[in-house]
């Protein structure tokens, strides 16, 4: 199976994110990591390729630095990468990003494109279904289990109170939830081997993207302002010395829970 996986370079989720004057996420001077959700996508892709005798290609969009996320996936075992990078693409909204990714993968003959459900930074989860729509193929979302049977793709899709089992033919976009596998760590051999693997770099022109449909100019959602949200008033902090059980129970009585 020809497996493609998207990855995104995002700020370390343990650090405090900041916005610049242009309301874009500040990526300078912060530690960037491969989005945690993507580790599950890469792992699932690798397992699928191993099972079906195929290989994994990783796709990312972002500044040159996004190459690090691709390299990490390569060191985990992916075979090659595509980096979509162009200052003209900065400031793209979900649809602009989806247009670029769709253009980069459309002629590559993939069977399955695996994506994380949503990134840790933007967390809107819009891009994968939009890529599928632009390519005119189905997407199976929120997969907590992914199987291939007789060439068909089957997933258990998370629902509010359980899951539904979905089945379709390839090519397809699948978004995976965390916890569906245990992502492998890159081995030293993998890290060394990744250095000789190829990452193709493409820009907006190479992808034939209409300048008016991507980047900040093409964004159809504009951020007008960013304001602090109303904060909760600080409460009482106590150190447990064996009294906390009583304290909490008393509060629960006060709140009429008990």
């Amino acid at each position: 199976m020809n497996v493609f996986v998207t990855v995104k370079q995002t700020p370390d989720p343990n650090a405090t994110p900041k916005l610049g004057d242009n309301h874009r996420l500040v990526r300078e001077g912060v530690e960037l990591v491969m989005d945690q959700g993507d580790e599950y996508g890469v792992e699932e892709g690798l397992q699928l390729a191993e099972k079906t005798g195929g290989q994994v290609t990783v796709v990312s969009m972002g500044p040159e630095k996004a190459n690090d996320a691709i390299r990490k996936a390569l060191s985990m075992g992916a075979e090659s990468g595509i980096l979509i990078t162009d200052p003209a693409l900065a400031g793209s909204d979900g649809l602009g990003t989806a247009r670029a990714i769709a253009a980069a993968v459309k002629d590559k003959g993939f069977d399955i494109l695996i994506c994380g459900t949503e990134s840790f930074d933007g967390s809107t989860g819009m891009v994968p279904p939009m890529v599928a729509e632009i390519l005119g193929i189905p997407h199976l979302s929120f997969a907590k289990k992914l199987d291939v049977e007789d060439g068909k793709i089957k997933v258990q899709r998370q629902t509010a109170d359980g899951y539904v089992t979905l089945e379709t033919e390839t090519p397809v976009v699948v978004t995976v939830t965390g916890g569906l596998n245990e992502p492998r760590y890159p081995t030293l051999k993998g890290i060394m081997g990744a250095k000789s693997k190829t990452v193709e770099t493409v820009d907006a022109a190479a992808l034939g993207l209409d300048a008016g449909a991507v980047g900040e100019g093409g964004a159809l959602v504009k951020v007008e302002s960013v304001e602090p949200a109303p904060q909760r008033a600080a409460g009482e902090i106590i150190t447990d010395e064996g009294q906390s059980g009583e304290r909490v129970a008393a509060l629960l009585v006060e709140l009429k829970v008990l």
Partner: protein, 321 residues
Amino acid sequence: MAEIWVHVEEDAGAVAPITLEILTKARTLGVDVVAVALGSAAGQTAKLGEYGATKVLADARSDYTEFFSLPAVEAFVALALERKPLAIIFGGSYDGRDIGCRVAARLGVGMAAFATDISVEGETVKVEVPIFGATQVSKKSFAGSGPYVVTIRPKAFAAEAGGAGAPAVEEVSPELPDSSKRVRILDRSVEASEGPKLEEAPVVVTGGRGMGGPENFNILQELAGLLGGAVGATRAVVDAGWMPYAMQVGQTGKTVKPNVYIACGVSGAMQHTVGMKGSKNIISINKDEEAPIFKLSDLGIVGDVHKVVPQIIEAVKAKKG
């Protein structure tokens, strides 16, 4: 008057709370509120009117329940191109997100995800989206032409009946091409859980990575049981495979607003706090006094969850007699 469409979702045979929440808000916007009810939801017209729909576009065909997502996408696209609503609102739910994203991509229109407020002035639609764990609010507007697509975060608005009564019902039958019947729904499984539903429970006891392992969630179950509450989990816990995804509270996962939220071994990452910050009262237990969760807490306990939670259980049992 401008029209705003609301996608109708069902939950266990009734109109889903998220749909009622959106309708309640929509009826205050000074627009015609049109509910789009596809599949079995087409039978819910009375309830939709009660919450604010003045009109229902209904299509009862079973394609919407037999096949995943795509028939609804086709229906929305076909109907929207023909009737040009100002905006289409979906729930920030699994189904709402899947359909909304594809509709926006097909129509080539702007989309804002997980808004917690929406306003309309003439032809201008504005939304507010909480970011960075709801520490900041991003105010957004749309460029280009509509229909603008918006998803609304669950529990952003309280659902209250008060619509004008029975809505006008128009049966519609947009063309559903065979290509929209490519994803078959083979079966639906409900994972049984004891006690109240997480989203509706008056008390939520959530465990984070600090619980140390899945076996330690037993004490959280016991505490939740004593308080008539439900157990939740953070993304880290779910990603580690300790607890099922259905228990996740946060950006990915569920939004809860219980009377009392008890966070045990939860650091308070932004991913998590956006889903619980609206709780009326927050009690947290963490051994790290610098944990961000304490900034949100009405009562913060610096201590070991493995000691503090059993203490709470004992004290609660004593009070209950």
